[in-house]
């Protein structure tokens, strides 16, 4: 690797890192803060309680599982808490600070960019790799989800690393590379089970490179065992604690949405076209997809894209409901955008036509960044800052061991601000909560009639026009 190339890579990594520091100190009250709050709570509880990675706990006592089971231990046994544990290590060293949690995600995203460069360079050369990693670094949707307190940035980076090491392993057939690939793949799988779809491009590449001899190669089996065993053990552990899981059955096809008009409209139009690739990038992405299958190396990207499309189809409702579910398209999408960009430019060798094509390709790229930012900028907004204020006041005013009610439509981001355990919604008579030893309510919904009754009848610890901190008693909860 030449010196110039190293400078380019360092610059791209610096770009990746620095763009993701925008509003790094913002509270967990931005877009998709509910998922961030759960994740951040697990990391914080590793520090506040015991650091037992097998038994991650959130703050919420409100059960989320499919089975109607209570969750008194606040277990949050879903993904393996590798991200949360990493954050907790920093918390142990420097104290609980959301900036640290975001920095872990940002670092993961930055490492992911590096592996994306290496992967694309190996297949298509440094020019396409450079643009792919710049697009990956600067795509507004990817920037936002590269700094969230969620396991996803780590999952994506492990996925990209897996693809890169898989290329090296396939080429060299060295056992240590097989083990490295298996390790990164296993890590990705533990962090997010959706990684399993990555087996499609992996086996596609093994099949076209090693051909039929692949099934006789012991390394294939070592790879499978090493990568799938930890995940299988973790799933057995998860199955033993169903109360700590969140509902997942709806993610597949709730409302029979798969293949309906709205399924296509949401995923193709709203997400891929509007939010992620933002019109201009979508065209380049489509170009890249069409171009990719025409070469052997490109066909791996095509197979990778196919695996992501299959994932979106299987987890149809999850993908329609949550925009962060489309994060797996980012690495493959960035490469396809880059491929598309150079396909457009190289489509004509004539001077004037090439000039026009360059203008078109650059315009599409600029449009993608501009329109993408237009869509994503609102994600950073803290729409209800009162949950942060109320949470901070509750943390100061209430006993450290108090369990509280912080109703916020089942969203734990309000509860997280209070730094207490408790419930995220009120779904039974208040007297029952009181008899369980819960006597504090923090609310930002002062227009809600039950809250108004509480503020009228119970002891007010603090009340402003935005929030109320209430101490319940047997008399006032009748």
């Amino acid at each position: 690797m030449k010196k110039f190339e190293i400078i380019i890579i360092v610059a791209i990594l610096a770009l990746t890192f620095s763009l993701r520091t925008y509003k790094i100190s913002g509270p967990v009250a931005d877009w998709h803060s509910w998922r961030q709050a759960d994740t951040a709570a697990v990391a914080r509880n590793f520090v506040k309680e015991d650091f037992n990675i097998l038994y991650p706990r959130s703050d919420s006592l409100t059960a989320l599982n499919d089975y109607g089971l209570q969750n008194p231990n606040r277990y949050f046994i879903n993904e393996f808490p590798l991200y949360n544990a990493t954050v907790a290590l920093f918390y142990k060293a420097f104290g609980v600070n959301l900036v640290l949690a975001r920095l872990v995600s940002i670092s993961a995203a930055t490492i992911g960019t590096l592996f994306l460069y290496l992967f694309a360079r190996k297949l298509f050369g440094s020019k396409i790799a450079t643009l792919a990693s710049i697009f990956y670094a600067a795509n507004p949707y990817n920037i936002y989800y590269g700094r969230v307190i969620m396991p996803d940035p780590m999952f994506i980076s492990f996925s990209i690393a897996t693809m890169y090491f898989m290329l090296e392993w396939t080429q060299s057939k060295k056992l240590w590379l097989c083990l490295v690939t298996a390790t990164t793949f296993a890590s990705a799988l533990l962090v997010k089970p959706y990684t399993v779809f990555l087996l499609i491009p992996i086996f596609y590449w093994l099949a076209i490179n090693w051909q039929i001899k692949a099934i006789k190669n012991i390394q294939i089996y070592i790879f499978l065992i090493c990568s799938l065993l930890p995940f299988s053990l973790w799933r057995l552990h998860v199955a033993a604690h169903p109360e700590g899981t969140f509902a997942t059955s709806w993610l597949f096809n709730a409302g029979n949405i798969r293949f309906t008009g709205s399924f296509f409209r949401w995923l193709i139009f709203e997400r891929l076209n509007r939010l992620i690739f933002a019109t201009g990038g979508f065209v380049l992405f489509a170009f890249g997809a069409i171009k990719s299958h025409t070469s052997k190396n490109g066909s791996l990207i095509f197979a990778w894209l196919f695996s992501v499309v299959l994932y979106m189809t299987v987890f149809a409702k999850g993908n329609v409901n949550h925009d962060y579910y489309q994060l797996p398209i980012m690495p493959v999408g960035a490469i396809l955008v880059s491929l598309g960009f150079f396909t457009v430019i190289n489509n004509s060798q004539k001077y004037y036509a090439r000039l026009i094509n360059i203008i078109i390709a650059v315009s599409l790229l600029v449009i993608s960044f501009a329109f993408g930012w237009f869509e994503v900028r609102g994600f950073y907004n803290v729409n209800r800052p009162e949950i942060v204020t109320a949470g901070e006041r509750a943390d100061i005013l209430l006993p450290k061991d108090a369990v509280i009610l912080a109703p916020y439509n089942d969203d734990p981001s309000f509860l997280y601000q209070t730094n207490r355990y408790g419930y995220t919604q009120i779904d039974k008579p208040l007297g029952e909560y009181f008899s369980e030893g819960i006597k504090y309510v923090v609310s930002v919904d002062l227009a809600d009639p039950p809250i108004q009754k509480l503020t009228a009848d119970c002891k007010i610890i603090e009340k402003t026009d935005k929030y109320a901190i209430i101490e319940m008693s047997p008399d006032c909860t009748q």
């Binding site: 409209r265 979508f282 489509a286 299958h293 095509f302 094509n357 501009a370």
Partner: protein, 479 residues
């Protein structure tokens, strides 16, 4: 033309016709009904008040278009070529919205045929057929092909101009094709002056053939002079009726929107990328755009350049009104066709050779599906009560009565009443009465002012949807 090409055109035209018959009998209360009502009322007034093509009138007496009172209802925008066609049809059938829509349908069928013929002069039959097919079937194009607007007529005239001008250039001794070119250039510009922008491809074709010799070419100068003269005369004639000339400055660069983020976002993301082409059609369009160049493609690029110049000059008009993009549909269809053809020709040593065509078909299907999703609401009659109220007014009020039919300046309500009057309350009610307008019809029954009038004035007709009130000076001041 070969037999099978004729057959293909017939099939495409049949599909085009079939699609355009969707909700063809909807009243003028659909999307952009205000502009349709203005256009239809000119034709209706030719029928009601006499055929005066040089002094077209519509139903709106208000000052909303330019701040000047317009008691004679002058309507001086485009020369009423399209309105005359509707008028001619109505001479046979009587006033009928469906017939007016069918006039536009027939016009766009002619456009489909001439788009094929124009593209066939430069490209293969496949690209020509695909261009005509996209023009015939893109949901946005289908909707505006059954609206009562002059835009589709201008597009047809332009396509005919291109075709006949190309034929003229093939044999420039032929006066027939030059004459036809001049006629259709006139029809295009007179029916919607923005057609001037779309004469740029004609300039390109002329320059390509004659090069520097164009300056000495008398026929070209004749074409230019005879194309511009009627339009200039019309514009001069219009100046005698300033109250009938709407403001158009706001269409140019209102709010300094040109080249701002919103300008690009509206035109690229909202219109091309969402409404007209959808993301998938937009991808096909760009594929066509960057497809390997040939000399023929320069004509298509000149078309595209016309569109861009038009977008930039009429920046706020294009941002504000989606029907302003009607003239660019043929260009978009041509590049989509080139893109589709390119995908069909894509060869792959790795994957199945059908992948290119499969991707193309998927993109086309999604273009239609997502496009229809956007456009389906355009057919909706969101306020059916204006139609009901309009019919009641027509039944209950004297034929020569003028009415106030307020709908925020939207003339579609006034049009339903079959009366002249005011689509907006732009002066005091007392002044309306003084000027001879004493009837008010409203569908806004929750409005306190209307409720007040309904309480104190004489009610001519009332249902849950509307009220028709006879105003008098005694009742309008009461509370």
């Amino acid at each position: 033309m070969k037999k099978f090409e004729f057959l293909i055109i017939c099939v495409i035209v049949f599909i085009a016709l079939f699609l355009r018959l969707y909700k063809i009998n909807r009243p003028i209360a659909d999307w952009h009904s205000w502009r349709q009502a203005d256009t239809a009322s000119v034709s209706r007034n030719f029928l009601k008040e006499g055929f005066t093509p040089f002094i077209p009138t519509f139903d709106d007496m208000s000052s909303q278009t330019n701040g000047l009172d317009n008691p004679n209802r002058y309507r001086f925008v485009e020369f009423p070529v399209y309105n005359i066609l509707v008028y001619l049809a109505w001479l046979i059938t009587g006033v009928n919205t469906t017939i007016a829509r069918l006039v536009t349908v027939v016009i766009t069928l002619a456009s489909t045929i001439f788009l094929y013929l124009v593209v066939r002069k430069f490209s293969s039959w496949q690209v020509s057929a695909l261009s005509a097919f996209f023009f015939a079937t893109i949901p946005y194009s289908v909707f505006y092909s059954s609206t009562i607007l002059p835009g589709p007529f201008m597009v047809m005239s332009l396509l005919m101009l291109y075709y006949f001008f190309i034929r003229f250039l093939e044999n420039d001794k032929n006066w027939l094709f030059l004459s036809l070119s001049i006629i259709f250039a006139n029809l295009a510009i007179l029916s919607w002056p923005i057609a001037i922008f779309f004469c740029l491809p004609v300039a390109y074709l002329s320059l390509d053939k004659y090069r520097i010799g164009i300056v000495k070419n008398i026929k070209i100068w004749l074409f230019v002079a005879l194309t511009l003269m009627p339009f200039i005369m019309w514009r001069i004639w219009m100046l005698r009726f300033p109250q009938g000339i709407p403001d158009f400055q706001y269409l140019i660069n209102d709010g300094n929107i040109r080249f701002k983020g919103a300008f690009f976002r509206w035109l690229v993301a909202e219109r091309l990328g969402k409404l007209i082409l959808t993301p998938c059609g937009f991808a096909l369009f760009i594929i066509g755009l960057v497809a390997k160049s040939s000399k023929e493609k320069l004509f298509y690029l000149s078309l595209l350049f016309s569109c861009l110049v038009y977008f930039v000059v009429f920046a706020s008009g294009n941002v504000r009104h989606d029907y302003y993009q009607i003239p660019v549909i043929p260009t978009l269809a041509i590049f989509m066709a080139i893109g589709t053809k390119l995908l069909f020709d894509l060869k792959s040593p790795i994957f199945n050779k059908y992948i290119g065509p499969v991707v193309a078909v998927i993109l086309i299907i999604f273009t239609f599906a997502l496009g229809y999703f956007e456009v389906q609401g355009y057919y909706w009659i969101n306020k059916p009560q204006i139609v009901e109220a309009g019919k009641a007014v027509d039944r209950l009020l004297p034929k020569n009565a003028t009415v106030i039919a307020p709908l925020g300046g939207d003339t579609s309500f006034l049009y339903q009443t079959n009366r002249h009057g005011y689509p907006v309350v732009d002066r005091s009610l007392e002044k309306f009465i003084d000027q001879g307008t004493k009837y008010l019809v409203s569908v806004d029954l929750n409005d306190s002012g209307i409720q007040n009038l309904a309480r104190n004035c004489k009610i001519i007709g009332q249902t849950n949807s509307y009220v028709i009130i006879e105003l008098s000076k005694g009742c309008i001041g009461k509370s």
